[in-house]
Symmetry: C2
Subunit: 302 residues, 2 copies
């Protein structure tokens, strides 16, 4: 089934210990859509400025991303400038220019309203609910959020979470959202807010799933050649939700498989700046890396 | 086969967010021996002072630990005082009194010299080699070390590592020992120093194995009821080496299984202060928790 994703499209300027990239393609919706496009059709709602070049749109179109929901507004595209030290788990934001994103009001095209799967990338929880009010009856609503909204709009975020089936969130933010240092208790509290599944991203330590079936610990591939972690969380979500949308099977075993596919997509994405690794990625490479993850986590019964 | 362990026996005074314990049984050799004793016979070489009570010896004897190598020296037993914040991965040492441990010279009893498996707990690398010079031809030598020796006695540590088959070490120390921030490259460098297997302890993130068979990522159980992380690394090593010594199978599949058993033992140990959880632990509980780990990490082929 098609996925509707609503989020940001951006120009990123990123410095890591392994190099620099200036005004390259970025944004949560972009990373998500490119990753999910390996599994199913993606419909994108976002906004870009007049400065956004056709080549980036061509890349997304070639990946079969439906861009009828992409608005082009007067002004400049959203820009983010950040850097990473050797601890690649945490970005330091040097500059954010919201530009056309400041007035973004997601308008869902009529032909997107029947979307069966919706991914609300990390945007204002008010806007996340505005999206949901414009779609009919999705079978699966997944969402991301961040510390900025947890602190700044807690009530609005709670209203959104009450409507969300699966929340993809990082570890520190899980604790912050729950106000609880123990991760098990924190995940339980977050599930009580609405999401039946909480997927906790732990960067180089993998991911944890808390759902009605219990817990699942997904390994991260130890990476020899990490160059830029930007977009890892969004490509993870793209692989995860993309896999679920392609099977429309939300049972525990399918959710576990989807988490590994999310991890696979993130593991590729960090090998190069921007989305460059996804430009050359093949389904065969994805399948081969899934087998590497399987072997990585394999152990026998006692 | 029997394991010879050489390390510390201590009185620990520990404060965590969940309580406090004063002058309770601790020490690397103690934790290791108690955990390994669930899998095989253990022979302990360590030193205690005149103040060491018979009840602690009785506990170890009841767990079938051979104490003929335990020296009782004039003076006081080694004491450690530490505390943990909500980040339970890192202890803050408030006080260390080496006492009789300051002059510890491991003397291996004649009847221990044929030990097939040796575990060198985290002590001075000079002493670690002194132990090895007193044993005949162990089939497996495993060791632990720490930042104190990496920084303070790098040359001696390298000499020891050249004689070690399997090194159990934490993540930050792996990077420090190799002088390399990338964990994959760091593990390769450490393997080049001698150990054919490097087992990296990551606390609440599990463990990673780097060996000739490739990589293995062991999950950690998300813990609802962690009370005191003291001794987690040593009980991990006890379960790990204990399992290997009981099968004397050092093939990749057996090493993976041993790492999970180490993780199981550590997951129990942190549920209570000191070694208290190990006092009541049963083989049935260990086997049941192994199955929980299996289920935690389980995912299907694509």
């Amino acid at each position: 089934m098609s996925i509707l994703v609503v989020g940001s499209v951006a120009f990123d300027t990123v410095t890591t210990p392994f190099g620099q990239a200036t005004e390259v393609l970025g944004g949560s919706a972009t990373y998500f859509a490119a990753a999910a496009s390996f599994f199913t059709d993606v419909r994108m709602v976002a906004v870009v400025g007049k400065d956004f070049p056709e080549e980036h749109l061509d890349f997304l179109r070639k990946r079969n991303v439906d861009l009828r929901g992409l608005q082009r507004a007067p002004g400049k595209t959203f820009r983010w400038v950040g850097e990473y030290g050797f601890d690649l788990n945490e970005a330091r934001t040097l500059d954010t220019q919201l530009n056309v994103f400041a007035d973004f009001a997601p308008a869902i095209p009529e032909e997107y309203r029947d979307s069966e799967v919706v991914f609300l990338a990390n945007i204002d929880p008010d806007l996340q609910r505005e999206v949901l009010s414009q779609v009919r009856r999705p079978a699966l609503i997944a969402a991301d959020t961040m510390n900025y909204w947890i602190k700044g709009k807690p009530d609005s975020l709670r209203q959104t979470l009450a409507m969300v089936d699966m929340l993809v969130i990082n570890e520190a933010e899980t604790r912050q959202l729950a106000g609880e240092p123990n991760l098990v208790h924190a995940a339980q509290k977050v599930r009580a807010l609405g999401p039946r599944a909480v997927v906790i991203k732990r960067g180089e330590y993998g991911a944890l799933l808390f759902n009605e079936g219990g817990w699942f610990s997904a390994p991260a591939l130890p990476l020899e050649a990490i160059r830029d972690p930007t977009g890892a969380g969004d490509t993870f979500a793209g692989g995860f939700v993309g896999s679920l949308a392609s099977s429309m099977n939300f049972a525990d075993a399918a959710v576990r498989k989807a988490i590994i596919l999310g991890s696979v997509m993130a593991s590729f994405n960090v090998e190069a700046f921007s989305l460059d690794r996804l430009r050359t990625l093949t389904v065969e490479e994805i399948e081969a890396r899934y087998r590497v993850f399987k072997r990585l986590a394999q152990f026998e019964d006692l």
